[in-house]
């Protein structure tokens, strides 16, 4: 007789059914950092009307499913983003708007903004554009719904599995104890180290 564990049921069929319903009812929490917040009112209101996809705005992180990071992230903002993200109940997804959360965008030289949001919280989907127009936002959300339905959007599982790595990266930026610009530290070494860690994480799915 074939024995099926409770976990398999939860991860398999049941999860697939759940994912279908999850993808049809998404509450978004938009963290209005940077310029992308301007694109959300037209996306939500009558012209583009995102509610026809079952996506609506939510006031608190504890009731939200998607976290929208709408632009550059400064170090101070990152602290609040991490806090909001950890308050959200699972399953939860993160959407990064524009190029700033991907590589720093036009702010990548700045001392105040982080360069890659994916090192601190897992980003499921990045939208192209600077900033993305409402059409791009809707296109991204449709993609995200598809990813959720297929069970490909696994950012929150990644976060749970690599919790130490994410926490370490966050602490590196938020709880700095020593100056960064000391003579004698090669800047290249750290980049390589980061790449290695990211390549390790690719196999999580």
């Amino acid at each position: 007789m074939l024995k099926v564990s409770r976990e398999e049921i939860l991860d398999g069929k049941f999860e697939r059914v759940l994912n279908f319903f999850r993808s049809r009812s998404l509450w978004m929490l938009y963290y209005c950092t940077g310029c992308g917040a301007v694109e959300l009112p037209p996306t939500m209101t009558s012209r583009f009307d995102i509610e026809r996809f079952g996506i609506g705005p939510m006031a608190t992180p504890r009731q939200a499913d998607i976290l929208l990071v709408t632009g550059y992230v400064s170090v101070k903002t990152l602290k609040r983003i991490v806090r909001s993200y950890e308050q959200m109940p699972e399953p939860k997804w993160v959407v990064g708007f524009g190029s700033c959360p991907v590589n720093g965008g036009i702010y990548w030289k700045s001392y105040a903004t982080i360069n890659q949001l994916d090192r601190y919280i897992p980003v499921d989907l990045s939208l192209s554009g600077c900033m993305p127009r409402p059409q791009a936002v809707i296109d991204g959300f449709v993609n995200l719904m598809e990813m959720i339905r297929k069970g490909e959007a696994v950012g929150y599982k990644k976060y749970r599995l690599n919790y130490e790595w994410y926490k370490q990266n966050q602490a590196e930026v938020l709880e700095r104890t020593e100056p960064v610009l000391r003579p004698g530290i090669a800047s290249v070494g750290k980049v390589q180290e980061t790449k290695k860690k990211i390549s390790v994480m690719e196999g999580v799915k």
């Binding site: 170090v75 036009i106 990548w108 001392y111 105040a112 982080i114 360069n115 890659q116 960064v180 610009l181």
Partner: protein, 158 residues
């Protein structure tokens, strides 16, 4: 007005600029006395305080923007401080709102405002390096080391 101020402010230079603007150049320690004289001669309003780092001349200009409602004149007071002795007396007693500006300039440029009771960090999160708006602070290198570099940014030639 410029002639009157030249008489009052013996130690500083007063230049006329663009018709309705005056430029007063003074050195750091005498900034407060110059500002007191300016306030008593009609420049009631302190719009803001900024700082300019002239690294080649090895000094910083703490710049006070004043506005006179009576004369309809804008005065720019530049208090020049040597970069090795960045000390300017506080103007918190003349204009209370100067306190926050001085706190910010202390954080961003490292200028010491003697007499200011609270120069604790204001904007930056847990900052350990040199003040970031100084010209000798390498913000690109900082970003590279603190936050890492993502592939493709270098090639884009930003």
């Amino acid at each position: 007005m410029a002639r009157k101020l030249r008489r009052l402010l013996a130690g500083s230079t007063v230049n006329e600029r663009y018709g309705n603007r005056l430029e007063v150049i003074t050195d750091g320690p005498h900034a407060v006395s110059a500002l007191v004289i300016l306030k008593s001669s009609g420049f009631e309003h302190l719009s803001n305080i900024t700082c300019v780092d002239w690294i080649d001349e090895h000094r910083m200009d703490v710049t006070y923007n004043l506005w006179s409602y009576t004369h309809r004149l804008h005065a720019v007071v530049k208090a020049q401080a040597h970069r090795d002795a960045l000390e300017v007396p506080t103007t918190g007693e003349i204009w209370p709102q100067a306190q926050v500006y001085e706190r910010e300039i202390h954080e961003m440029f490292g200028v010491e405002f003697t007499g200011n009771p609270d120069l604790s960090p204001l904007f930056l999160h847990n900052w350990r390096d040199m003040p970031p708006l100084r010209k000798d602070f390498d913000t690109e290198e900082y970003s590279r080391r603190a936050y890492g570099v993502v592939d493709g940014v270098e090639e884009a030639g930003v």
